[in-house]
């Protein structure tokens, strides 16, 4: 009678037929003896359609109302899945985020889960129900509905697994696991049976679209084993954080690539204390995630400051950065979108030298120029020309001997 939290993404519940298929999968697990809490995303393009409706009303929808609007998408899919389950003879209860006890702060559109009160879910499980929870949403103390932003439904699932002390959180999506590289780019990429939280975090943060780093982070904090697998097949998937990582078969786990990169450069920044804070604090307040910050060497007490953001955030970031740049006397802020990141990730790298030099040499031999380099303990990332990503990934996959 293992307690499992499952999560099905928007594609997996994208139509009436697919919802029925998900119900059938759940039913088999229930018959096998598991107790299930199931988190669902909104059906297919529902969220985009609701956003389009909002944009028909106003260019800048109020965040509180937008969250209340968007939260309906997951309520629709969760109630339909509960109906499909009951139709097949399995007691089920659909809960909104509020009903499921998911309490958040008031940061609409990117709320953080503050607490999970699992009483109602536990009572429903004890009564023999499969509990279906609308993902991506929670509620403030004032009963205002919030949405969790990117990776929201994954985060709901991992948070519930932690609060319920579930044996495992299973993320079902349209890919069947984590690969040593994107199989669409490198056909020789092989599926990983297991990765550590840290490796998954780096892979996810640096372009592996399978799972949002935020949910991985939460899993790491609460030590929730997370299985990523396909909702369309019975293939085994990849287990994050569950298996012993004592013996690394390979010091490099995989190659990640991220083409969703916009680079912003502020030219002629006075080299004074406090300038970086003045630039980056307003970006953080606006919820814009910044990475790969590089400050070039100072020439005549002026420096160029470069950082990257997601492409969708570029315009908003520029609107915030330009007045600050003007106020501190920097003559211009430029942006471009032709770059991409490739990263080599592996928990084994921290104990071994030579990984960075092997990466740089491989890219050089493939005729690829490196524009920027950043590293973590278990990752090396290079910014390169976006069009060179496929060549770079295949060359690195080969150089680090990742073929299956």
């Amino acid at each position: 009678m293992a307690l499992i939290v499952q999560k099905y993404g928007g594609t997996s519940v994208g139509s009436a037929d697919r919802i029925r298929a998900v119900a059938a999968r759940i039913a088999r697990r229930v018959q096998a003896g598991d107790r299930l809490v199931v988190v669902v995303s909104a059906m297919g393009d529902t969220t985009d359609e609701l956003l389009a409706l909002a944009r028909e009303m106003t260019d800048a929808p109020e965040e509180r109302e937008l969250d209340l609007l968007l939260s309906t998408g997951e309520i629709v899919s969760s109630t339909l899945l509960a109906m499909a389950l009951k139709h097949s003879g399995h007691p089920a209860l659909a809960l909104s985020g509020a009903q499921a006890g998911i309490g958040t702060d008031r940061r609409y559109g990117r709320a953080r889960i503050l607490k999970v009160d699992p009483q109602r879910i536990e009572a429903a499980l004890a009564a023999g129900n499969v509990v279906i929870v609308a993902g991506f949403q929670g509620t403030t103390e004032e009963l205002d509905v919030t949405t969790l932003g990117r990776g929201g439904s994954d985060t709901t699932a991992v948070a519930l697994a932690a609060a319920l002390k579930a044996e495992r959180c299973e993320i079902y999506t349209d890919v069947d696991g984590i690969y040593t590289a994107d199989p669409r780019i490198e056909p020789a990429a092989s599926k990983l049976e297991a990765v550590s939280y840290e490796e998954m975090l780096e892979l996810a943060s640096y372009g592996a679209k399978v799972m949002h780093p935020r949910a991985v982070e939460l899993g790491a904090v609460f030590n929730v084993p997370i299985l990523v697998a396909s909702s369309f097949s019975e293939a085994p998937g990849t287990l994050i954080g569950g298996a012993s990582m004592m013996e690394q078969r390979n010091k490099v786990t995989g190659i990640a690539a991220d083409t969703d990169v916009a680079r912003i450069t502020v030219r002629g920044v006075p080299d004074q204390p406090g300038i970086a804070a003045r630039l980056f604090e307003p970006l953080a307040e606006a919820g814009i995630s910044v990475d790969t910050i590089v400050q070039n060497a100072s020439v005549e007490r002026l420096t160029d400051l470069t950082f990257t953001v997601a492409r969708a955030e570029m315009e908003r970031a520029l609107q915030i950065v330009r007045p600050v740049a003007a106020a501190i006397g920097a003559p211009e802020a430029l942006a471009d979108t032709h770059l991409a990141k490739v990263s080599v990730v592996g928990a084994g790298m921290q104990s071994g030298p030579g990984y960075a030099s092997r990466m740089f040499r491989t890219l050089y031999e493939a005729g690829i120029n490196i524009e920027l380099i950043t590293t973590s303990e278990i990752r090396i990332t290079c910014l390169i020309d976006g069009e060179k990503v496929p060549v770079a990934v295949r060359a690195l996959h080969k150089a680090f001997e990742l073929e299956g």
Copy 2:
């Protein structure tokens, strides 16, 4: 600074353009100095589309999940209207039924409002907001979402007007008021400036589709003046219960017709005490509204029992009645849908004789057979052949001198 509760129906908010038009109407009222609470239905066919999705899952959707599903329709329209208002510079707050403090019992699909806690609405009004409330829904003490069933959004509006002690409740719909007869049947029908609650109740119960009797009843109990008017024009509408009814200009207010009638006849019912209760109690428990009950004179201690229900309820009513009929020894239960009701309604009728005979003679002279008669203090209703409704309405409208 009058406090007004308005309600806009599904057609009035059926598209982005229409929502903007409603926002513009509201804005004009706010500029004129009124404080507004606005209840909205779901956009156009949303509720039917959600129902269709549910039916794709199962023939008999669980009522609790169905209510949670259907409640999303009004949340979508209320958030969009709030966005449109804010876009035009008018502070607005959208509230779900739960957030608006609408507490109901647990009868899913046809919940009754038990209490309204208006604190949050009052605070939002005091802060200068137009408050937009998702109609048709409420919440149980356990935070489960309920829907109010037929006439739900009208009922939400009248209940809020009562709880907030609003000056008036304004129901905006696709007709511009209450007429002496359906203008599509009788072009000479004229709009009524005012009607009493009792007259409106009879008109609504007997076929005037403008407003559900349940909301009228609530208005009568709490003495809330209700204006029914068009959301597409500035025509003045009809005021229910607000004006003095001391001097009736005309003892007959209007002619109502209802073609949504199914007749069920149970043949050969033993004429014993308690039999009627055994038949009608299970119908009431199933939430099926029964009217026009007639029991024919007993022959050899056997009688025929006839009643009418809405056509959509006929199959369900038969499924309930047939086993009871068999159990009490009645040989058959029959149903047909070819009948309709025409009614003459008027508060002045109770004090004057001759109305019934004038109605029967008018129908006789128009060649229309009367199958059943029922009366109240201010209404006389005849069941006639459904195809004869237009002829009957025109004849009665003329006989009772209702031409404008």
